[in-house]
């Protein structure tokens, strides 16, 4: 690796640790540690929600998919943009307010318990367990992605790469908690955005015009320039449906809960959407311009995901290449740190404080949260040690699983006064079960080859979960006066 690239990169990693040290002193209560004391401004809330949402997929997966298949991948970007917008428009403000009214809930399981005043505590336990299991696996797969990147960029041994990445993420998350995570995500979001815009612009300005790019790609395969090529209605619906996932992602919803006040939501929404849409466009055009750029010697199938990295090395000088490499790793790290922290909050708030020591002093809770970060990181590291570990396949279900099991519960709990605790429980279980069953329909029903099986599981999951909430709530006893009165205060 070029010394200039390496220097920039090391400077970036040192800055991350600096953030951890800086925010250590601002973290005195558990609410500070896992929600930043609800003090996030619009910009930080917006970009940190975006950066923690997108992961390495934005800089590796999406450009790689467009490079391999062409512009038909835009449907996924459309689905995500619309879903994120609806989430900001309808959920953010209301969730911010409701979580404060509902006994100042600082985690999603907290909110579920206090929203329905669930004395059995089943909502808390089930949702916290689901979060812990899926996010530990999610974190592990993020670490694998980070290690692969370190390995290919620095020619490092894979185990050393895994350890280096983990230690850095754990260090700043351990020290600075939510504020360090959000502020690093904010800067990582800016870095990702600039890098994604710079690469395709650089190609068009310096190497080939837009018309030349279209001509080259369409002469290679006309399917590259057609948004409908190879797409069926079910295929398009499935890609669009990814947007439904937003309503149930705990690490994104926690940004809504942490925003300074509901008045800050409209500005945050605007910043978040501008960031997201143009970052997605950047990623799509990185892949698309990459097709023409590498027309003479196309990247082999295994390397398509690193089309952005390959472009960077040709297009930019080593200093900028170092920054862009940092941006790619940022995308991975900004997701891993947020998921790690959500796991830590489930342990500290939803188990330790809720069941073991309700009167524990705040300082103690903060340290439980800190050590929970280390504990979850160790579990994730063990899972990540073997990248062929089958447990990591669970990640494929995580987006749809959270979306279908928590999404309808979150939306209806905010807007439907008559929703009951049993309704929430039924929705959560039905959503999760539908996703798991649907994803394995091929195994359950061998020989059945109807196209509908390929429909993304979040669609039936979301619909059935919503129905389950409605039916169970209708047949249940009406919510208590206290629950109804609390709803009226929002």
């Amino acid at each position: 690796m070029n010394p200039a690239t390496l220097t920039t990169f090391i400077f970036y990693l040192a800055a991350l640790i600096g953030f951890g040290i800086l925010f250590y002193q601002y973290t005195n209560t558990l609410s500070d540690y896992i929600l930043g004391g609800r003090k996030l401004g619009s910009g930080v809330a917006a970009l940190s929600a975006g950066a923690s949402d997108m992961s390495g997929w934005l800089l590796l997966g999406l450009p790689g998919a467009v490079y391999a298949a062409g512009l038909n991948q835009i449907w996924l970007a459309i689905g995500l943009s619309v879903g994120a917008y609806l989430n900001w428009q309808f959920v953010a403000r209301k969730l911010r307010k409701y979580t404060e009214v509902a006994q100042d809930s600082i985690t999603l399981p907290d909110y579920f318990e206090y929203r329905f005043q669930d004395k059995s505590r089943m909502l808390r336990v089930i949702s916290a367990l689901v979060i812990l299991i899926f996010f530990a696996v999610y974190t592990a797969s993020g670490l694998v992605a980070g290690a692969t990147l370190f390995e290919s960029a620095f020619d490092l041994n894979r185990q050393i790469a895994l350890w280096t990445g983990t230690i850095i993420i754990v260090a700043y998350t351990f020290l600075g908690g939510f504020l360090a995570v959000s502020w690093t995500d904010f800067f990582q979001g800016i870095l990702m955005f600039l890098a994604l815009i710079a690469a395709p612009v650089m190609i068009i300005v310096t190497y080939m015009s837009w018309d030349e790019i279209i001509a080259t790609t369409s002469s290679m395969d006309p399917a590259y320039v057609d948004v409908f090529s190879g797409m069926t209605t079910i295929g398009i619906l499935s890609l669009l449906a990814w947007g439904l996932g937003y309503f149930g992602q705990p690490h994104i919803l926690s940004r809504f809960m942490a925003i300074k006040s509901e008045k800050h939501v409209p500005k945050a929404k605007m910043i978040a959407m501008i960031w997201m849409v143009f970052a997605l466009y950047g990623a799509v055009f990185v892949g698309f311009t990459g097709i023409a750029f590498f027309a003479e010697s196309p990247l082999p199938a295994g390397d398509q995901e690193i089309v952005f990295l390959e472009l960077t090395q040709v297009l930019f000088n080593p200093w900028i290449a170092g920054i862009i490499l940092a941006a790619i790793l940022s995308a991975v790290m900004s997701t891993v740190d947020s998921q790690l922290l959500v796991c830590s909050s489930a342990i500290a708030e939803d188990f330790y404080k809720a069941f073991l020591k309700p009167k524990a002093p705040e300082k103690e809770l903060v340290w439980v949260g800190r050590f929970a970060v280390i504990g979850v990181a160790i579990v994730a590291l063990i899972l990540a040690y073997n990248p062929d570990n089958l447990v990591l396949d669970l990640v494929a279900y995580a987006w749809a699983g959270f979306g279908a099991s928590f999404g309808p519960v979150v939306i209806l709990s905010l807007f439907w006064k008559q929703m009951t605790r049993n309704g929430a429980l039924a929705g959560m279980i039905t959503g999760a079960a539908t996703v798991l069953i649907w994803e394995n329909l091929g195994l359950i029903l061998p020989g059945v080859e109807h196209e509908i099986i390929s429909l993304y599981s979040i669609i039936p999951g979301f619909i059935l979960s919503t129905l389950a909430i409605y039916i169970a709530s209708r047949f249940d006893e009406s919510p208590t006066d206290a629950v109804l009165a609390q709803h009226d205060r929002v």
């Binding site: 835009i74 001509a215 369409s218 320039v225 409209p266 929404k269 605007m270 849409v277 997605l280």
Partner: protein, 38 residues
Amino acid sequence: MEQTSLSAASWFWLLVPMLTVVLLSIITFFVETKREEE
């Protein structure tokens, strides 16, 4: 035949939905902020 431009349908789906989302977020920002001030 060599194509030098995207079809109208491809341009439409490439640009309209995502830019509409951006536009809506800008419009609702001004509307909601104004409502807040009143």
